[in-house]
Every structure is written in structure tokens, then in C-alpha cells.
Subunit: 434 residues, 2 copies
């Protein structure tokens, strides 16, 4: 384990009571991680001095570097300064230079110095006062061995400004940091987490023996594999991680769709553009979500010609030339229907690659042999139609999400290999490529 450990504290009743979303902790945790600190925990606390004192003391006693935000304003319920001083066993003293600056600022703004604002220029004796160019509350910093404390405002914009301009450089300098974490990740789609975990768990060391630490992160059907290493040189770290990425790609093949912070839709659109494949969709159960995802990506207009969101049977007949007999004999959720839909959109649009989907999103609409979650998907490529039958779990929203991403994955795999995949996701129950 790392010898530099940190805790991230957010102080304020509104956050603890749930009336404000705390985004500071995540942001600071990433920053601290990059500086090579192991973040032990995030804690959100009420503006109650006594409790703040003992929680701060506990963190310092554990040897943690505490990064605290909030509770340093001028009002009576701002207790962070007092609590920090008590936890450190120090007196709270006025920083005359900070007070002078604050007087200057008010006079420059043409406003009177508000009564009671002196408190915003106070810090525990011996701490370094840190300038806040983004607000009126001055900040402070104090180190004790590997432990210590830094205190910043709770308003995200102010906090980020103070951190970047003053606090971060101060920490780097004062801790003499020449090592930091470097991370790389790959993203996967088409296999369940448990299956990916089974296949690559030997590539995910916990950092105990290996300098490289690996983790599996899940964002619904998108699985991320992430490695990081504490390093002095980014190139060295990248090279250390490379074998893990190579081996994972080797094992997982085209299940890996990207390296880094790239979405499935972005990978798909960029690959389609690269291969000069124009695409068109015929959507029923996804209700426009496939096109919506494609058009989240700048440059989608270079590949997407159109999507016919034919939600009603009437629209399927009119827009895609689906035959009335097909709907009567097989229903809209059928292999025959998605085949006619995809052929129709291909004919109409002239696109090189087309996808169609029809399914039962629920909560109602399931029938015998076609329960809620049933999906048929078809792909048109080079005059050939391929169709898949799927059973998608999940409620309406998740269902659409998964079906739409499976369609994207079918487009991606087809562009990648120059031919349709055997199955675009593990949810496919039968594969049928007449």
C-alpha cells in the first residue's frame, strides 16, 4: 500500500441532507489519485463543530492527508476553521496580510467590509494561508509528516480554482512529489461482467505484488478494464500496462471496443466514417434511440442518412414497404418483419449498412411465445440480410438502452470485419443467417 493516503471531506448540512449533490469529492479524488495519493474514503459531515473536531482528529491520527471543502464562510454556522484548529490542537489566528487583501477587494468592489468577515482570514497558528482569488474565504494548508490538512471553499468553481492555482502546486512542492499514478483502460461490450471477469481475472492484480493494479468497472452492459501504476515517467507506466492490455485484447477480441474514455456510439460512428459506410436505421421498439445515440457523436452526419422510426404498423407499411400479410401472419415482432424493414430502409436510403429492430419493450404487450423482452434485429450488408433473435432483460428504459447498444455493436462489428458478426451480444438466443 501507498504511504501517502488521503481523505476527502465535504462539510455542509445541505450536502448531508441531500439538497445538494456533492460533486467536489469525486473531482478531488481524481486529482489526489493523479498526485499518487491513495484515497481512503470520502466523508460528508454536518456543520457541527464537535463532530468535525473528532472526525478530523481521527483522520489525522490515521496518518491521512485531509482535503476538506465547505464551512469556511463568514456565517455563524461555518465551523470548519474552528474545528480544524481544535483538531490540530492549535489556536485560530488572524492572518493580517489576508485581512488586508480582503479589505482591498471590498474597497475595489466599492462595497463596505461586511461585519464579521475577519473570520474568513483566520487559520490555525502555523498553517500556511492560501490565497483564494475566486471568493472571499481564504484557505489554509498544514502538513504533519505524511498527514496534514488543507481547507478550501465548498462552491465547486471556487474550490477548483483555488486547487489548481494554489493548493495543488503547494502540495506537489511541499510533499516533494515526483511520482504520480498513470492509468489506462479498455472498454468492452457484448459479454456479461461475470464472463469477462472469469476470462481476465489473472490480468487484474490488486497492486500487492505487481506495480500494476487492475480493476473491472461496470456501467450496465459496458464493462471497463482499468490498470494503473505509480510512476515517475508516463512512458514507463504506459509500457508496464501495455502487456495487460495486449493480453486482455487477445483474450476478449472484438468484445473490446475502445481504449480510453470513448463511448460505444463514438467508436461506432468513427469506424463507420473511416470505412466510408453510410448507415440507415429502421427502428420500432428502440423508438429513435439508435439514431439518438449515433447523433450524440459529432460528425454523425457523415455516416447517418436517416432513421425511420416506424412505431406504428401503418408507418412500417408506408415507409418501409413491409407487407400487410407479413404483419398479419407473423406480427411486427418477427423475423419476417425485421427482414422486410431492413430491406425497405436499404432500398429507400441507399445506405451501405442498415439495421432494423422490432421488439416488445413492455410493461405490457407480451403474448404467448413472445414475452416482454423479445426482440428481432436484422442487418443489411452487401445485399445480404442477417437476423437475430434476442431476449433482453430489464424494464422499458433499460430494454431500449440494451437493444439500441446491441444494434450499434452489430454496426461496429460489421464495419470492423467487413461482414456481420455471428452474434452482437450474449443476449442473442438463436442465430439465424439465412
Amino acid at each position: 500500500m501507498n504511504s501517502r493516503r488521503a481523505a476527502v471531506l465535504s462539510i455542509g448540512n445541505e450536502v448531508v441532507q441531500g439538497f445538494l449533490l456533492n460533486t467536489n469529492s469525486q473531482w478531488l479524488a481524481r486529482e489526489l489519485g493523479d498526485l499518487g495519493f491513495d484515497v481512503a474514503y470520502h466523508l460528508c459531515l454536518l456543520d457541527r463543530e464537535e463532530e468535525l473536531v473528532w472526525r478530523l482528529k481521527a483522520a489525522l491520527d490515521e496518518g491521512l492527508f485531509v482535503v476538506a471543502t465547505g464551512g469556511i464562510g463568514p456565517t455563524e454556522d461555518d465551523r470548519t476553521r474552528h474545528a480544524a484548529a481544535k483538531a490540530l490542537g492549535l489556536e485560530l489566528v488572524l492572518d493580517h496580510e489576508a485581512l488586508h487583501d480582503l479589505h482591498e477587494r471590498y474597497s475595489q468592489m466599492g462595497r463596505a467590509f461586511p461585519k464579521g468577515s475577519e473570520i474568513q482570514c483566520m487559520a490555525p497558528k502555523g498553517a500556511t494561508t492560501i490565497r483564494n482569488a475566486f471568493g472571499t474565504a481564504s484557505c489554509f494548508y498544514l502538513r504533519r509528516g505524511q498527514a496534514g490538512i488543507c481547507v478550501m471553499p465548498g462552491v465547486p468553481r471556487e474550490m477548483k480554482g483555488v486547487w489548481a492555482e494554489e493548493m495543488r502546486p503547494k502540495i506537489i512542492d511541499d510533499f516533494g512529489l515526483n511520482e504520480r499514478f498513470f492509468a489506462r483502460e479498455i472498454k468492452c461490450f457484448g459479454l456479461p461482467e461475470s464472463e469477462i471477469d472469469n476470462r481476465v481475472k489473472h490480468l487484474l492484480p490488486d497492486g500487492g505484488k505487481s506495480p500494476v493494479e487492475g480493476a473491472i468497472l461496470v456501467d450496465d452492459a459496458v464493462i471497463r478494464l482499468r490498470w494503473r501504476v505509480l510512476t515517475r515517467s508516463e512512458e514507463g507506466a504506459a509500457a508496464l500496462i501495455q502487456p495487460f492490455i495486449d493480453e486482455a485484447r487477445n483474450i476478449l477480441g472484438d468484445v473490446v471496443f475502445a481504449e480510453g474514455d470513448v463511448s460505444l456510439e463514438s467508436t461506432t460512428v468513427n469506424l463507420l466514417r473511416e470505412r466510408k459506410l453510410r448507415v440507415a436505421c429502421a427502428e420500432s421498439c428502440t423508438g429513435g434511440m439508435i439514431a439518438h445515440l449515433l447523433t450524440q457523436v459529432p460528425g454523425a452526419s457523415e455516416t447517418l442518412i436517416e432513421s425511420a422510426v416506424t412505431y406504428s404498423n401503418d408507418a412500417k407499411l408506408r415507409r418501409l414497404g413491409v407487407k400487410r400479410e407479413t404483419l398479419e401472419n407473423h406480427g411486427a415482432v418477427s423475423e419476417a418483419c425485421v427482414r422486410e424493414m431492413v430491406a425497405g430502409i436499404a432500398r429507400e436510403s441507399g445506405a451501405e449498412l442498415c439495421v432494423s429492430v422490432s421488439g416488445i419493450a413492455g410493461p405490457t404487450g407480451g403474448v404467448d411465445g413472445k414475452p416482454v423482452g423479445t426482440v428481432w434485429m436484422a442487418l443489411w450488408f452487401k445485399g445480404q440480410v442477417h437476423a437475430w433473435h434476442m431476449r433482453m432483460p430489464g424494464e422499458r428504459e433499460v430494454f431500449k438502452w440494451r437493444v439500441a447498444r446491441t444494434a450499434l455493436n452489430a454496426l461496429r462489428l460489421t464495419a470492423l470485419h467487413g461482414k456481420p458478426p455471428e452474434r452482437p451480444t450474449f443476449h442473442v438466443t438463436t442465430v439465424d443467417a439465412k
Copy 2:
């Protein structure tokens, strides 16, 4: 101070290291507040069993009711079950009924039962197993006096489902909560927060003098006004809040689109169904998002005929009969174009109400006189076309979100009043109803 105190725990390396934003804690803090718990703190912890054990023990020793999320999946690094059992001094045992259910679910999905999944059906001996209809990890609950622990999944959607359907009722029943906060809220669209705040701030007491507490909450362009009161009787509370809602509705008029947890798309679809208005869309810059939002609502098929996502100019010509001269002389982002688009979709679909949009989502594509963010929207109703010009702030994703919701709002207001609105949002810069 309240005798019922709670702590909210989020467990997972990704959260602590800052790779996932923790939204669960805020959500749960609000819910616990409504149940009359004083939330003492939020804590985010790593998947490290030892540390989890002593932090959980410390919370229980403090007499806190611990609501924990995350770390209950099937993989080796999911340690929350083990830690909770140890902190409680109990053995971890298999719930055979839960295991049976899980086997059923996998067989219904037509998938093999994944190796190692039994752990997801284990709970500390004596705890109540709580069903998770939203995922594969079963949950549990155990009370000890005023303290206790409940454990739920980390995936927000799953957690919220389990909380609402199982955990919340269990807590209310088991704690015998007969006094709790009762809340009602209304939702607004079309005016900025500052404007709404100005108009209704006298209706938002802080709870000091009045038994009713009011708040304004912002979720991007959707503004929520929320009132709550601590009560034993929900009817009494509902009646206390009623005058606030009446007066706010009186002041804000049709800016209020719903009471309670109802989305704009849901209100819109239900109103369209009620008025027996079938709808069709012609989308360019929203790329299918209008249809996607409409089809998030069960029953959308009763009103939505189709959406023609005509992303390319070619599709606008072919699918909607937009004239080549119109595109050449005015461009695709023009009043003339959206008027032809909406007339085209009306003619094709036969819908009673149609909407079309064309705009510049960015980040590129802005030109002189038509910067990024420029939007034209047209509405077809009873043979008349109404068009609006807008300037929408925000990056690509936010832009699409706002334009799509403005289109929904235009549909809603038209259905509500039986005629198109003067302006469906304050972002409209000129109103033109030739």
C-alpha cells in the same frame, strides 16, 4: 436532536477513486430525511473488507441506522456482505429461497447460472433477505434497537427500485414510523429558475415558523417546487400543502406540467392519448431524441405514428418532400425548411399534430448569422403551421436535450389548449406564426 439517526455508505473503489460520481448518497439522504431520520454523515469506502468491518461497527456502535450500497455483486472484490456479517458478529448464510429465485431468473432468460453467483443470495444469519427485482444481487436488512443496517446494490437504477418497492416499506413497518415527512411537488418547464424563484419565493417558507417547508430544486431546465411537512397523517399534510400548490399553479399557469414524479414526456404522451391526438415528428438536429423520449413512456404507441429522423439533406428531400431550392436558398436550418418538413410529415403520416426541428448542435457547423445553438422548430396543427426561432445554449448533448424537451412542451401545450402556444420555452427569441 432526533433519536433516529442514519449514516449513508457507498462502497466501491470506483467511487472512492473518483471514477464514478456518487449520486446514491444524495438520493438516499433525501429519502431518509423524508422518513424522519437525521442523516449524520455520508461515507464512501473502498472494497476492503477489514476497513469496511470496523467502519460499519463504529456506525452501529454510535447507534446509527446504516444504509449501504455497493459491493454485493458476484465478483471477488465485492466484500460488503462479508463485512456486514463480521461487523454484526454473524455468520454469512445462504438464503435458499433467493437462490431458487435466481436460478429461475436465469433459466427464464435462457442463460446458464453463472459460476460463483450463489454469493449474491447470502446474508448475515438472522437478517431479512430483501428481494431485488431489478438485478441479480439480493439485499438484506437487520435492525438492532434504533441502529441497524440495510444493504442494497450500487447501480442507481437497481438501488432506487429496491428501495421504493421493498426497503422503504420494510423500514417504515419495522421502525413503526408513524411520523414522517410527507412531501408534494410540482414540476415546471419553460421558464428559468431565477424567474420562477422571483414569482413564488413567498410560497417557499424555510420551516421555521410554518409547519410547511418549501424548496426550489433544479434539474437543468426542469424546475421542481417541493413542500414537506412532518406528520402522522398524510391527508392532514396533503391539505396543509394544498394552498401552496394552488397558489403556485395560479401564478405559474401552464409552466407547471405535472405534480409528483412525472416526467415531461410522460405528461405529454398521456395528454396526447387523452385528447386522442396522434403525433408524428420530423427530426434533424435532435437525431431521434424526441421520438426516443416519447417512447420511454408506456402507451406511446397509442399516439406516436412515426418519426422521420432525416439527418441528411437527401432524406429531407426524399422523406418529407422538402424542396431542393429551399435547401439551396435558405439552408436546412431555416424557417422555410422546418415548415416544409412539418408539412411533409403531416401529409405522410396523417397525424393530427406534428413537430419538426432543425438546428446546429455543434461543436462545428456554425455559420455567419446562424451560430452553433441556432434552432428552427415548426408545429403543424389543424392545417396551420407555426414556427419558432430559438437560440439554445449548451454543448451538443445538453443542446439536444433542451431542443427535444422544448418540442415535447410545444406538443403538450397544443394538446392542453387546443392551439399552439405563443412560445414553448423562454429560449424562443422571436415568435412567428404566419
